[in-house]
């Protein structure tokens, strides 16, 4: 293993950091320069990553210690990076897709007054995300973890004049912070037990400490870290911020809230696989939460009319799929779906952005339709990605989703024993729903006739080019990665079970869930449009539930936010001003009365207090010394 400190690792996050500063400073006077600076910085990071991956020998990993962050009381923590195959995959996704989205944004944000801020934030996000995946210890990961949260906050509230957008940003930050508190607890416990937060040292320490008495600790730590993941990766109960996060510019949704940041929790679990593997109950909880999140989010997506909201809930749902695999302990599959999802979901979001751009800021699908002829490239790429996410052979989503269902079914986690009969069908139903709501969104947007009042037009090449690249990846990414990824990741995540090869016929047969979903979706939203209306009438309350996002926001407002606000007010008015200050003012009033006496002898307030002070001091000294030793 190479430990010689590969300086190039430091450049990967450094380029976007410098890009961020330059984009802001230069962009202040030359707005148009900002986008190109940021894109260049991102592309340079991508180039370094590619070069490193190409040059990397088999089974190798790189390490680079930038400096000792702090060393105090025997607790030494290095600002260090580590680059193994898992990091390589993550870095390729982040910088690769990141660069495409930067390029897209140059056109998408071309008219915006604040685009220097936008690109500065976007590059700052790249920097944070790269720290997150490159960190050689939990704390550097956490720096990135909170850093991406900050950038997410800044970008969601990018159009800050709209107070509800700014509020969505704040909500994202605060909800993420709740998760982060869990993450911190996990770190406290690991440090308390092992005196280190370094991944390699932790793996070493845990592998020699698999004794039964430590298993409860691993369980609690794993659960705490997963709480962090539910925040960052939008799982129940902390997923509520992600749909609101769609307030940000659409490229942000594509990059941060679909392809990269929200997958941080999945990456974290894969990174700490040695810990989660020793906590099967925690894994089971992850799997259960994941299945329910996937299902609830898919059900919510069924009725949303905002094209971005559909994709947002779809993202929550797909993240659930990733966590199913992670919970089943088959981490490479989780990473596999992470990658394919990054392809097709980034494509879908950018496609939605293209549609919104083309329809002059219209996001409601009820005012779209028939865009197929007006924006063919967008429609085709969106269509390909829809097929991919629906899990149709041989598109990328088929392979990863199929692998997830297989992993869940074939899991040998004893803690999931008996639950699988429930979880696997739920996951399959969710897969069906996925195909259905995505077909609905495709049909409402691109098929039928145009229902809006704008004059839709295809987007410029700078926007469609990234769409084409991503659609291409969504098309063939699964075939390509399904075979290579498990072996590539094996040094980090362990060797997977071998799969037999599928024929086309088998593949298509296994796609039946997706095909069914698409078929029903097309039926409902093209030829027989009275069906959905009838369904909604029949299951009225249920669809209301879905339309209102299962009232999670209202529930949290009623149970957490409002009571806390009330408590805060009561503490301030009653406890602080009433009780504590009341007692103080009471004392002061007594002093004031004696002050009246003192004033008659022309004593000012300060002298008065000084006098009091010394008399009282003497009195107490007398008490201490002469009236019995305390």
């Amino acid at each position: 293993m190479e430990q010689n400190g590969v300086t190039a690792l430091g450049y990967i996050p450094l380029f976007p950091l410098i890009g961020s500063v330059l984009a802001f400073i230069i962009g202040r006077s030359k707005r148009d320069a900002a986008g190109w600076i940021a894109t260049l910085a991102s592309a340079m990071a991508f180039a370094v990553v590619v070069a490193l991956v190409m040059a990397m020998p088999e089974e190798a990993e790189y390490y680079y210690r930038a400096f000792t962050w702090f060393s105090v009381g025997g607790f030494t923590l290095d600002f260090a990076f580590r680059f193994d195959h898992l990091t390589a995959v993550m870095c390729l996704v982040v910088t690769g897709i990141g660069s495409l989205i930067h390029l897209y944004s140059v056109a998408y944000m071309a008219e915006d007054e604040g685009r220097h801020r936008f690109f500065a934030y976007l590059n700052l996000f790249m920097f944070s995300m790269l720290l997150l995946v490159l960190g050689a210890n939990l704390l550097v990961l956490f720096v990135g973890w909170e850093g991406v949260g900050l950038c997410s906050y800044l970008l969601i509230g990018f159009w800050f004049k709209n107070l509800s957008y700014a509020g969505a940003g704040r909500k994202a930050f605060v909800v993420n912070r709740i998760g982060d508190a869990g993450f911190l607890f996990g770190m406290f416990m690991l440090y308390r037990q092992f005196d280190t937060l370094d991944f390699a040292e932790l793996a070493q320490a845990i592998s020699v400490n698999a004794s039964p008495e430590l298993l409860p600790l691993y369980f609690v730590v794993a659960l705490c870290l997963f709480v962090g993941a539910t925040g960052k990766s939008a799982q129940i109960p902390l997923f509520v911020w992600l749909p609101d996060a769609m307030a940000g510019p659409t490229p942000v949704s594509a990059l941060i809230h679909a392809a990269t940041m929200v997958t941080a929790g999945v990456y974290m679990m894969a990174r700490l696989n040695f810990l989660f593997d020793l906590a099967p109950q925690a894994q089971a909880i992850v799997a259960i939460v994941a299945v329910f999140t996937a299902m609830v989010a898919a059900l919510t997506a069924l009725t949303q009319n905002d094209i971005k909201k559909v994709l947002a809930y779809s993202t929550v749902s797909q993240l659930g799929f990733m966590f199913m695999a992670a919970g089943a302990g088959v981490y490479w599959v989780a990473v596999f779906h992470l990658v394919t999802h990054a392809f097709f979901k980034a494509c879908l979001f950018l496609g939605a952005g293209s549609v919104i751009h083309g329809c002059h800021h219209e996001q409601d699908m009820r005012h779209m339709g028939g865009l197929w002829s007006k924006m063919p490239i967008t429609a085709a790429t969106y269509g390909i990605s829809t097929l991919a996410i629906a899990g149709i052979y041989p598109l990328s989503g088929y392979f990863s989703k199929h692998a997830i269902l297989a992993a869940l079914e074939g899991g040998h986690n004893p803690a999931l024993e008996g639950l699988l009969e429930l979880l696997v069908p739920m996951a399959s139903v969710t897969a069906f729903l996925t195909a259905f709501y995505m077909t609905r969104s495709f049909a409402m947007t691109f098929l039928g006739s145009y229902r809006g009042h704008a004059h839709p037009h295809e987007s410029p090449l700078r926007m469609t080019a990234p769409l084409i690249v991503l659609a291409g990846l969504a098309l063939v990414g699964g075939l390509w990665l399904g075979g290579t990824l498990p072996h590539y990741l094996a040094p980090v995540l362990g060797s997977p079970a071998e799969h037999g090869h599928e024929s086309i016929i088998e593949g298509l047969m296994h796609s039946w869930i997706g095909i069914a979903g698409i078929g029903v979706g097309l039926l409902c939203y093209t030829s027989l449009s009275q069906i959905p209306a009838t369904i909604y009438r029949v299951i009225g309350p249920l669809s209301t539930l879905s339309l209102n996002k299962f009232y999670f926001d209202e529930l949290y407002a009623a149970v957490v936010v409002k009571p806390l606000e009330a408590i805060a007010r009561v503490l301030f008015r009653v406890v602080d001003q009433g009780m504590i200050d009341g007692a103080v003012n009471g004392t002061a009033a007594v002093v004031d009365v004696s002050g009246e006496v003192a004033r008659s002898t022309q004593t000012g307030q300060v002298r008065h207090y000084a006098f009091f002070m010394f008399v009282a001091a003497l009195l107490m000294l007398f008490l201490f010394v002469f009236a019995g030793r305390v």
């Binding site: 105090v72 509230g157 207090y609 009091f612």
Partner: protein, 547 residues
């Protein structure tokens, strides 16, 4: 100049005082000569910069590996009572002194918004600097107390004369609270000295001697510690002794708030670690869980109450209650990681909260209101201000790579080893901190700008920027590369921990040796109407002295 014999500390302590006297006594600073106070401000800035320069020079000569007192100076003061002028600097005080000398020029620059009796204001500030540095370097308990009380007077004037509408109420409350605490501490100091005299036959106020040679029973320790802890707890302020703080902050002029939050509040924490713990270690151990509980209540309570505020300055004041709760928790957890974190967090708080008060001052100078509701949408109008506000907000909520994170993380990681449950509760402050700070930021910076109200708002000017830039640099420096700071604390802390452990052991030996018989005596006292203590306790004391 020979740096080995140069009286660094005395220069730091007395130069501001001399400056204040010059400012007040020389005729050309009088209003009839210096109508707008420009000359006075320039002179005060010059003095504070010279003091800062001397402190930097001193820092370059500070030996990071030396755990003892450096630059110490000693002279008899009142030999009859064993009182001496003894000052020195070690890893515990060095950064707090630097923080003081660093903030003071910024405060003087920020005094541009003070128009009334500027000469007196600046002189008060300089006297305050003398008192603060004196408090931090004094190693004679009496000297410490003198400086400690001396801090009160200029602050009293700063709030009472240059404060807001309710300044009289605020000053009275501030003085009343503080005096009650220091009074008890004074009594405890005398008591300890008296016990030393009984046992050793001569008087001294030197901390080291008192710490090494004063034997106290457990009960005595508890009472003495309680007196010290109350004095320091009020100063910090620790919940529930905090209600003087919001009033003092709201009424104080900007500079006063910066010094109050930046340095004065740290004095309680400093006193705790410098005096209370080493003198009464067993009592401190016994009280630790209770103090930690109050600290954690303070963290959560301060955060919640901050959330309920509509006045920006009051919000920042309550956030101090919350942040200082972390520091207290770190100190009472009493391990190297937590204590270093707490010491680091003291500096961080001085920087981030000082900056936040300066930012509030910028708004107040322009619009004469501190209510959040009077602002909104400012980010579009004053982008530079919004940027600075964002950075210091993030520092306040301890985002990684800003200074606040290092402190909070070390405190929580360290105290989790000692008080796991309390630490977990305290960590909720991390979430609540984000809630109230981001709410503040959102309500003032985001949304539509009210053209009628704030359309004429101007962005941060050059003079104001000069106060923010040094703080901005420190936020990132201390967040990204904290090691130069931490490494200068560590040797002292290690020596400190072993010294305290030694004292704890010595006190236990004394307790086993002498105290049991005395406890029996005390019990008998309770049973009888009048004590017969004199005759019974005396032999024990003699034995202690002989031993």
């Amino acid at each position: 100049m020979n740096f080995d014999t140069f009286p660094f500390l005395s220069s730091l302590v007395f130069l501001p005082l001399v400056g204040a006297l010059v400012l007040y006594l020389l005729p050309f600073f009088r209003p009839d000569h210096d109508e707008h106070g420009t000359l006075s401000r320039g002179f005060a800035l010059f003095v504070s910069l010279v003091v800062f320069a001397i402190s930097l020079l001193m820092l370059t000569h500070f030996d990071a590996a030396d755990s003892g007192y450096q630059f110490s100076e000693r002279a008899d003061w009142i030999p009859y009572f064993g009182i001496s002028y003894f000052v020195g600097l070690d890893g515990i005080s060095v950064w707090l002194v630097l923080l003081t000398t660093f903030l003071m020029p910024l405060v003087v620059i920020a005094s541009a918004s003070v128009h009334k009796k500027i000469r007196g204001y600046l002189a008060s500030m300089l006297v305050l600097e003398t008192a603060m540095i004196g408090t931090l370097v004094a190693l004679d308990v009496f000297l410490f107390y003198v400086f400690w009380e001396l801090m009160l007077a200029p602050m009293y004037f700063i709030i009472g004369i240059w404060g807001g509408k309710r300044r009289i109420y605020a000053t009275l409350k501030f003085v009343l609270y503080t005096v009650v605490g220091s009074l008890l501490m004074l009594v405890a100091i005398f008591y300890v000295v008296w016990r030393f005299y009984e046992q050793q036959g001569h008087l001294t106020f030197l901390l080291d001697e008192l710490q090494m040679y004063t034997n106290l029973t457990r009960k005595e320790e508890l009472w003495m510690f309680a007196a010290f802890a109350l004095a320091f707890g009020i100063k910090v302020p620790l919940f529930p002794f905090h209600t003087w703080l919001p009033d003092a902050h709201v009424e104080a002029p900007t500079g006063g708030s910066v010094v109050l939050a930046g340095v004065l509040l740290k004095m309680g924490l400093y006193g705790y670690i410098r005096f209370a713990y080493p003198l009464f270690p067993r009592a401190a151990d016994a009280f630790a869980p209770y103090i930690a509980t109050l600290a954690v209540i303070g963290i959560v309570y301060g955060a919640l109450v901050a959330w309920a505020q509509s006045d920006i300055k009051k919000l920042v004041a309550y956030s101090s209650v919350s942040h200082l709760g972390y520091c207290v928790l770190g100190f009472v957890a009493f391990n190297a990681v937590a204590t270093s974190g707490a010491m680091y967090q003291m500096l961080n708080h001085g920087i981030s909260t000082g900056a936040l008060f300066l930012l509030v001052g910028v708004l107040y100078d322009r619009k004469h209101t501190r209510l959040m509701a009077d602002y909104g949408g400012l980010a579009a109008k004053v982008p530079l201000f919004a940027f600075l506000f964002l950075v210091f907000t993030l520092s306040s909520i301890a985002l990684p790579l800003t200074n606040g994170f290092i402190g909070e993380f070390l405190i929580l990681t360290g105290s989790f080893k000692t008080f796991p449950v309390l630490t977990v509760i305290g960590t909720t402050g991390v979430v609540l901190g984000a809630v109230y700070m981001l709410t503040l930021y959102m309500k003032t910076m985001y949304g539509e700008l009210d053209e009628g109200k704030n359309g004429d708002l101007t962005d941060v000017n050059g003079r104001e920027l000069a106060t923010f830039l040094p703080l901005l640099v420190m936020v990132f420096w201390m967040g990204i590369y904290p090691q130069p700071f931490l490494s200068r604390m560590e040797p002292t802390l290690n020596a400190y921990f072993s010294a305290v452990a030694e004292r704890r052991a010595a006190l236990n030996v004394y307790e086993n040796d002498v105290a049991p018989s005395q406890d029996i005596v005390l019990e008998r006292e309770h049973q009888q109407a009048r004590p017969v203590r004199e005759s019974a306790a005396q032999p024990n004391l003699n034995r202690a002295v002989e031993g």
